[in-house]
Amino acid sequence: MTDYLVNATHLKKSFGANQAVDDISLQVKAGEIYGLVGSDGAGKTTTMRLLVGALRPDAGEITVCGYDVLKQVDNVRAQVGYLSQRFSLYEDLTVLENIRFFAEVRGLSQKEWLPRSMEILEFVGLGNFKDRRAGQLSGGMKQKLGLASALVTRPRLLLLDEPTTGVDPVTRQDFWQLVIKLVSAPALSGVEAQAPQRPSTADFAKSASSSAQDGVSVIISTPYMDEASRCHRVGFMKLGRIIAEDTPSNLRARLAERVLELRGDPINTLRHIAHHDGDVEDVAAFGDKLHLRVKEGRARAVIERLTGVIAAEGATLLELRLVPPTLEDVFIALSER
């Protein structure tokens, strides 16, 4: 039990008749990136808020960094950086003033906060903007400022609630680089290769790790599958429950030999044909391709059958082959259950 940085068991929380979190158990190890994935209303935000003690569970137990969230919430919060979904900073304060405020209310002394804030601002790439009002930052920069203010106390656990929702792909990429840098702090060579022009970046990552022995752990919720695949482990949430939890590759392995990719013309005819095959469970469109999920062990039979039917219908078949499943395929399959 003490190996886990986060250990939550049988959590329940309801709002009126709505069972937002229904018997969730969740363990996260030090240095792990754990992704909570699910559609809107699956219970991701409620779970996050329970973990940080912003909500009291109706039932269940949570320990974070060895402290009981229900009894020692202040100790917990001293170790946790939390970025809420609608996270927001004081737009009329400057970047540095924002960080200073969040550093001070978390108990950093006058002497500590300034060097550390500068260190973190350099780390997230906002060093040159410290005197700019937060309201005048771009969306991506605001995101980074949010991350910086959550990091200022060098937390051992970072809870990020949909931090990249509504953010452009380049910024998302940047943001993930930062998260990965944080977690992989002990392996500094990679970090330095990525950002040789900023030596203080590495300094920060080093000091973050030395205070925590291991790298920072991250729990991140996201609706994006590409982000889920970057996590070490993923929990898939539906209706307040975690219905599947594993590493991305193990999750993908659940559908091994069961996903076919179909290309051809006209695509609507192909979709129609695929739908009517008894061994095809689902047809999903990915741009100009279709992904067919077939019953266990029927891939070969489906390929043969469809090739014939498509030719008989007069449609063109460009490609029909077995492909490795994507996380998206897995989640679509899980969602239907």
């Binding site: 940080v52 003690g53 912003a54 909500l55 009291r56 202040d74 919060r77 001293a78 946790v80 939390y82 809420s84 609608r86 996270f87 927001s88 900073l89 004081y90 737009e91 009329d92 304060l93 003033e97 200073r100 405020f101 969040f102 001070e104 209310v105 978390r106 108990g107 002394s109 203010s149």
Partner: protein, 375 residues
């Protein structure tokens, strides 16, 4: 002091300093209200434009008009030749009153039964009643003067005196300047309105922008958040009190007869009421506009049912009862008594106690609701 508290207070002051709307509210509005109400909310009636139709044109009629001129209640603005002209002037609002002296005024005066007509525009009852009593007073003293003169002329050495003499003395505000009554009220209104509106909007803004979500997960305790958010407005509220008091004293000449410490203490306690109303409103409202509206909804009955403009004694009993629920009512009694009468705490202890009870009650309810909304 607690370092988290200092951080919150400092942050709040930076935000206040950068928000134009808040700055205007703190610096300009109190003075504007003071001047507006100090000058406009006055029932002092001076210089009523008077139309005169003197059909007598005699030394006697001129002497009567002189006594009108001597009192500064009236200004003889028009001298007309017909009653029709009087009607036009009063209808048009150019003249508010008129005197008609009949052609036989001088002769009838000699007989001892002279009559003059006084016409009054009653559409504004306040100024009409002042004008009426002024006109009666002027006529009476003129008549007394004439009588004395006549008696003296007959050679009888007789002192003419009405059987009963009433000597009136007005205490505390001998010149009955309305500003003396209004300005202490303005202090109450500003403490209440500014404190409540600023508190409500600043708390709701945190919720509106989502920053409160970040605050909840810091080690900040609810009471620190409440005190930290309110403290700047306590300081600004005191600043406003002193500002209005100083302007009232030196510009409008409002006396400060009571103990200044006691005045500030009462203002401070009343300020807590305003802050409490603001905090409470913030727990009801979801947007800053809603918060502002909520405060206004409590402000209007407060002003009308506290004796700010209208005397409570003249209200229906039901409204009088309702007025006991208005904390402003108690503060107005206290601040007016302290400023104008210079009384001590003993005289106003009932109001003082009730006001304090309201302050503690409202603030406690607000703080509890605020805490509950955080979860």
């Amino acid at each position: 002091m607690n370092s988290r508290l200092i951080s919150i207070i400092r942050k709040e002051f930076i935000q206040i300093g950068r928000d134009m709307r808040t700055l205007v509210m703190i610096l300009v509005i109190p003075i504007m209200q003071l001047f507006l109400l100090g000058y406009s909310a006055t029932s002092d009636v001076r210089n009523i434009p008077l139309a005169v139709l003197d059909q007598s044109r005699s030394p006697e009629s001129r002497s009567l008009l002189d006594s009108y001129r001597a009192a500064d209640y009236f200004v003889i603005a028009f001298t007309v030749d017909s009653e029709a002209e009087i009607e036009t002037l009063i209808e048009g609002g150019e003249a508010r009153a008129a005197v008609i002296i009949p052609p036989d005024y001088a002769e009838r005066l000699a007989d001892g039964n002279a009559q003059v007509a006084f016409i009054l525009d009653g559409s504004d009852p306040t100024s009409a009643s002042t004008a009426l009593s002024a006109a009666q007073l002027i006529s009476q003293s003129h008549a007394t003067a004439l009588l004395t003169e006549r008696v003296a002329r007959t050679g009888m050495n007789l002192k003419v005196q009405p059987p009963v003499q009433v000597h009136t003395t007005v205490w505390y505000n001998p010149d009955m300047v309305s500003a003396y009554f209004t300005i202490p009220g303005v202090i109450g209104m500003i403490l209440y309105a500014i404190a409540a509106i600023l508190t409500a909007t600043s708390v709701v803004r945190e919720r509106e922008r989502g920053t409160i979500e970040q605050l909840i997960v810091t080690p900040i305790r609810p009471w620190e958040l409440i005190v930290g958010k309110l403290m700047p407005y306590v300081i600004l509220g005191f600043f406003n009190t002193i500002e209005v008091l100083a302007f009232g004293h030196w510009w409008f000449g409002v006396p400060i007869r009571g103990d200044l410490g006691l005045i500030l203490l009462s203002s401070g306690i009343f300020l807590v009421t305003g802050l409490g109303i603001g905090l409470f409103s913030s727990t009801i409202a979801n947007t800053q506009q809603e918060a502002m509206l909520t405060v206004w909804m409590t402000l209007l009955p407060s002003i009308f049912l506290s004796g700010f403009f209208f005397p409570l004694e003249a209200m229906p009993v039901f409204l009088q009862w309702l007025s006991y629920l208005m904390p402003l009512r108690y503060f107005l009694v206290i601040i007016r008594s302290l400023l104008l009468k210079g009384v001590g705490l003993a005289t106003i202890q009932t109001e003082f106690l009730l006001m304090s009870l309201f302050a503690v009650g409202i603030m406690t309810a607000a703080a509890l609701r605020f805490r509950k909304r955080l979860d």
